[in-house]
Symmetry: C2
Subunit: 450 residues, 2 copies
Amino acid sequence: MEDKHDVQLLRELIQQETWGELTQQHDDMHVQDIAEALGELSAETVHRAFQEFPRERWPAIFAYLAATDQYALLQAMDPEDGRYVLAGLLPDDRTALLESLSQEDMEQLLQLLPQNEVKPALKQLGYPEESAGRLMNTRFVTIRADWTLGKALERVRSRGESEDTINTLYVTDHRGRLLGTVGLKRLVLNTPDEIVENLITGQLVTVNAADDREEAARLIQHYDITALPVVDKTGVLLGVVTVDDVMDVVQEENTEDFHKIGGVGAMTLSLREARPSLLYRKRVGWLVLLVFMNIFGGAGIAYFEETIEAAIALVFFLPLIVDSGGNAGSQSATLMVRALATGDVQMRHWLKLWGKELGVAIALGITMGLAVWGLGLWRGGFDIAMVVSTAMVAVVIVGSMIGMLLPFLLTRMNLDPATASAPLITSIADICGILIYFSIATMFLTLPQA
Amino acid sequence: MEDKHDVQLLRELIQQETWGELTQQHDDMHVQDIAEALGELSAETVHRAFQEFPRERWPAIFAYLAATDQYALLQAMDPEDGRYVLAGLLPDDRTALLESLSQEDMEQLLQLLPQNEVKPALKQLGYPEESAGRLMNTRFVTIRADWTLGKALERVRSRGESEDTINTLYVTDHRGRLLGTVGLKRLVLNTPDEIVENLITGQLVTVNAADDREEAARLIQHYDITALPVVDKTGVLLGVVTVDDVMDVVQEENTEDFHKIGGVGAMTLSLREARPSLLYRKRVGWLVLLVFMNIFGGAGIAYFEETIEAAIALVFFLPLIVDSGGNAGSQSATLMVRALATGDVQMRHWLKLWGKELGVAIALGITMGLAVWGLGLWRGGFDIAMVVSTAMVAVVIVGSMIGMLLPFLLTRMNLDPATASAPLITSIADICGILIYFSIATMFLTLPQA
């Protein structure tokens, strides 16, 4: 695929304002690629470039721009053009734009909508944030259970061209309650006088409009379906969540977990677009919190000050031993947080996994203890070697246990297991490591008790 | 949705071998849920339970079992039943099973395949590991460009019922080269005497069979499509990768990145299924490597031994300062690795991001410096407070810079940016932190030079 190249070329042509060449260039390009090329340009440039694209492609290109760029572009456009673009957006894309705006900007934009679209738009914004209702497309084709296939096909022909989700037809009763689905394929494969009801498959999967969008994503992934009907509490069909929207949700949720394990607050904006002040706020909390946690580490060291003064060589091994506990802990926390997030591991597995983790941690600890034994012998003699390698075994085991158990504990407390971030685990493991290391040293070396 | 509950109940019924109740229970259950319920049971139990399900559902249930369970189940079954199940698998599911086996087991399984399926199965295994070719489904419906829609619909009717990917029809020339696609919807919406060629849309997206499956995933996500045709070098259509397979790939790749940032080697097995020996191997490499890196940290401390002996209070602040650099570095590395993985950030953005990161790091450093100032004053007086807070500012900035730049550097060297794991960044930042801290201390406190 040469799309990366094409995107780059188109961006350059637009930046250089060589509009003549551009027209030849973009004709067979996908709207996604055009939108990508426009992604980093100013609203004025994008506005100018839009004049070069056929007007019927405007809404589709617009739909793939980032929300901030969408709003800036609407500001730059004539109200009439803005109306045209907004009217051509799918309801779910329109909701995504509206929900990204301040109350004031949103109201301004609602005035650009066709009169009959304002109510549906507001209704969709009435569902909770990050709910399936916000994500769904509200344009779909319904057929009635008592129709013949011939009549159903007629409906498809009259409504079909403009609808996105036509490969599946939704069968409802007279009150709009969803009874089941019929694939377009089955409609085509059967005779026109067959009754719709007979073709419904019994296994209906639905999600409630108020449910979290993550639940919609889970269902689509679990059942390998491409579209998931969204219903209200009485079973009335409200819309359809499609797999492409869900893939974006999955990626966002993954990003959130990824950031959390690295000790960064959840952030929906792209790193490229995020302002420094936002990045500062997302990071400073953990950093300051961990400083105050690390005071305990410092206090641990102060407690053993006499041990340290008596055998200053011990300090040499401090980063080695303490970091190893943190590293082993980060590893187990990472494995556990991810396994809990994907559903690979559930609460009821904790005991079995704990046993396995203990075995692995002991093996890792012994390996690490042996690795530093020679080093201890070289730097400080037999006694120091004993202290260092014993402490290493203990620290790696304790670090691994903390990293493994904390995510379960957080889940148990109904908190997000990803709160067990690598920096948090490292800090806790560090404090334990300091205490373990110097306690063992104090015992082995028969130094003055602290 | 009550599927979680149903799965739990079914599992219990099977464990208790209450076969009578089971038959009422499973009839309207999805195959995915049945497979999930069977997921943690022994091969013998699964084999016994299979007898309770209608034989025509066997292949579909089987397809959703884990590969290790699939193989164990085939061993437990009569060869005849095994043949029946294997013949009913889709080609991509069959390939997923075969590629998970040793050469010997694979050959044994190939003998259970119908004679005419052996060659296609081997052909698919001939594509590189983790390629689009391994992932594709090789059953699809093709129509010819010069056919009428009437003839095309006939083909759909004759081939359609058994095919998975019927919503899109693939239009080829007489040599099997893909010319474009036509949605089933357009077939239905147009008159039967229309020629297929006139309905082809110009924007064809394809992937080469030898291309990485990540490329297939990227294309499906980028273009919001549900099925991606796979072609050979001459453009001949070989198969179709569908969005459900790609979602699994996306999750696996996310897991891989997640593990890497936590300093764990890439692992395709589930944490629950992985043997302790595998977990040991995936973790020990980084841990031992980092111990040897941390020797530099120890050496740094040894170098400043006199400074430390002269002002032992400095050691109290060591974990605070050193960890803060590591934490800030983990944060920037996490943000950067993820942004590079999702494509949000590309190489050409590095300078702009570096400037932004520097600004954020300075603000974070000053905040942290102020936070420890009072602590320094309380524990050690004005001089120590000066040393500690200056060191904190410097360490946070340096840590952030390392965390931000290393992923770019690795990308530049054509390595995976996720190699910049939190433990690696922490270790590097620790060494820098020790050197910076004690250097500043030596300067400020006019102590005996090390």
